[in-house]
Amino acid sequence: MSPALVFKVARREYLARVRSRAFVLMTVFVPAFLGLYLLAVPMLGRSSSKDLRIAVLDAGTGLGTSVAERLRAIERPHITVTETSTIEAADPAARAPYNAAIGDRALDGYFLLERADSAPARVRYFAREGGNPVLMRELRLAVQTAAIGRLLAGTGVDSADVRRAQQLDLAVVSVSDRGEREGGFGIALASTMSLAMLLYMAVLINGQGMATAIVEEKSSRLIEVILGAVTATEFMAGKILGVVGSGLTQLGIWMIVAIVALVQAAPALAISSAVSGFDLSAVLNARLLFYFAVFFALGYFLYSVLFAIVAVTCTSTEELGQSMMAAILPMVVALMVAISVISNPATTATRVLSLVPFFTPLVMTARVNVLMPPLWEVWLGILLLVVTSIASGWAAAKIFRYALLMTGKRPTLPELIRVVKA
């Protein structure tokens, strides 16, 4: 294998990727969308806090007035209690006028409080839209506070104190041989998700570009000219290195943009991070960034090789479109595994899964984020990942050499296995 030739092929592929419209658009749009998203989340929360008109129907619990009082006390969204009525029975006939009012948009929702045997009351909220988790939390709190208020009546305990006690938060601090670190699930989820998303975008754009190029070279027979000058292995190595280069360029640009944006927009972010309880300093620590970059690079490499393998077996771009799923699937499965890992960072299954190369990039990052695994496990994962990537690249070259001979017909899986073994 001649490094000079690999470099020439890689250089061409790199330039072709980096100059492609998809690359330029994505390099600009991904940070732009992420930025918009970060800005939009607090705004979305705010826009949903429009004033609400809510009725309270009490079917004999006696809690109606106090629930209404609590609802009025909620600051955001501002709630107007349109009426507090006592009804005989909670049957559909009694509810019909209220449902009609919701239908006419004269009412946003209503509470129905019924007697229950095992609880202070059975409470149902009827509304057109019931999905907003922030609102639901407020509503639940209002009902709970009302119920507790009645229990505490006459004991001298203020129900407002109880409410404050209910709002206490649990801060999680991870302890390892490296000391204490605040934050747990949320940060791990956020950084794993962002690694997954960046990986996904980068692999999709660059890997797909390379895959299309390979199919083009095959169908135009340009490949026969090129293989008159370089070996299949040199060609494959060059292709993959070129694509890896373009992916890292993209990541580099994104990281620089992110750092500049964070520094520039720190005050603005401080506001939104206060809302979501997001601590930036926990995300931006050097060790995390290091592993993030390592696993991004290696994961990107392996997944690019998968794209190359899929591409070399295809004879037309239509076929490629149909087969692309095979290359994307491992990444999607890895993400699902990674998310489940975040809640169980130390089980045997997790440790094993994080050493399976196709899962390592995402799962090991999740582990590193939640609970730092022993160093040897991390580096074993990295080693296995490197070995698998190189072996896959080598297999891709062999398959390529073979699939090249086939026009019109695609090689079958048993054929491919035979080729790789040979």
Partner: protein
């Protein structure tokens, strides 16, 4: 006797049980233009790919430029595949320079030759155009340049003239002759018999994966003898068919070509022609490669 630039012996290549090459023999003298002929699907492209090491033969042997491993000498060969393909989104100059550089030329030399070749094929002003912006004929010229930019010892051209206008056809013909003048061996696979007639010194006619006719064009023609009478008389074959001694009659449009039976006397036939139609011109001719092609393939056609 010099070593052949390409020597194929008893080549066999099978695809899914179908024999694409069935014991093909081929020998190409160095420094000549060699015509590889044959009907569609007869195995020409498979012959080329096997000779260049793109396919591994299932049987037989290939000697390319004196080496039994075609891949070992691939930098000394150039190839223009039948399917036209270049990187569509690459600039012309960059593309040629890339294709030159992977053949082992330095970056500076690659760039210099890319410019020279673009000028040579009349596209110097479009060096910075994307390949896909070019017409098919212009792309084909670039592709030809790509096949020879590294000065190979042997170049294989698969249907280089298809789709070219007369001017570009002419240019390409000159370029092919230029290659030969430099001592390059040229293997030309084509269906255009007039190009074969004008350019090739030797030919090989491939049919069902075998060489059914091969040798120097001159020798082949001599073997067939001057057995053809070309008649221009402003009409079709008509009555000429019935003249004794005429084996076959080929209506070429303006000209009717009569192929004589082996023992027929041309003078008798010519007299008979003069008796029957109003002749504006008539000559005794050697068979054209097209006639030989049609006859040989026709004879090899399995009887039904």
């Amino acid at each position: 006797m010099t070593t052949p630039a390409l020597l194929c012996r008893q080549l066999i290549k099978t695809f899914d049980g179908t024999r694409a090459l069935d014991g093909l023999d081929l020998s190409v003298e160095p420094g000549t233009i060699f015509g590889l002929l044959g009907p569609n699907g007869s195995g020409k492209t498979t012959t080329i790919r096997t000779s260049l090491g793109i396919y591994k033969p299932d049987g037989g042997s290939v000697q390319l430029l004196g080496s039994s491993d075609p891949l070992a000498v691939r930098r000394q060969t150039g190839y223009l595949p039948e399917e036209r393909g270049l990187y569509a989104r690459m600039k012309l100059h960059e593309q040629l320079a890339f294709l030159a550089s992977i053949r082992g030329l330095s970056a500076a030399e690659s760039a210099r030759r890319a410019s020279a070749w673009l000028d040579r094929v009349g596209l110097g002003a479009r060096a910075e155009s994307l390949t896909r912006e070019l017409s098919k004929g212009n792309q084909q010229k670039v592709q030809f340049a790509a096949a020879v930019i590294h000065d190979p010892e042997l170049v294989v051209l698969d249907e280089p003239f298809s789709g070219l206008d007369p001017i570009n056809s002419r240019l390409l013909k000159d370029l092919v002759l230029e290659q030969r003048a430099k001592g390059t061996t040229v293997i030309l696979s084509t269906h255009r018999m007039e190009e074969v007639e004008a350019l090739c010194e030797s030919i090989c006619l491939v049919y069902h994966g075998r060489a059914i006719l091969s040798g120097r064009l001159r020798d082949i023609k001599a073997k067939y003898g001057r057995n053809t009478i070309a008649v221009e008389h402003g009409g079709g074959p008509g009555v000429l068919n019935q003249i004794r001694g005429v084996q076959a009659c080929d209506d070429g449009g303006r000209e009717v070509r009569l192929r004589l039976e082996p023992d027929a006397d041309p003078r008798t036939v010519m007299r008979a022609v003069l008796d029957r139609v109003d002749v504006s011109s008539m000559r005794l001719d050697e068979p054209r490669i097209e006639d030989i092609y049609l006859e040989t393939v026709g004879a090899a056609e399995p009887r039904r």
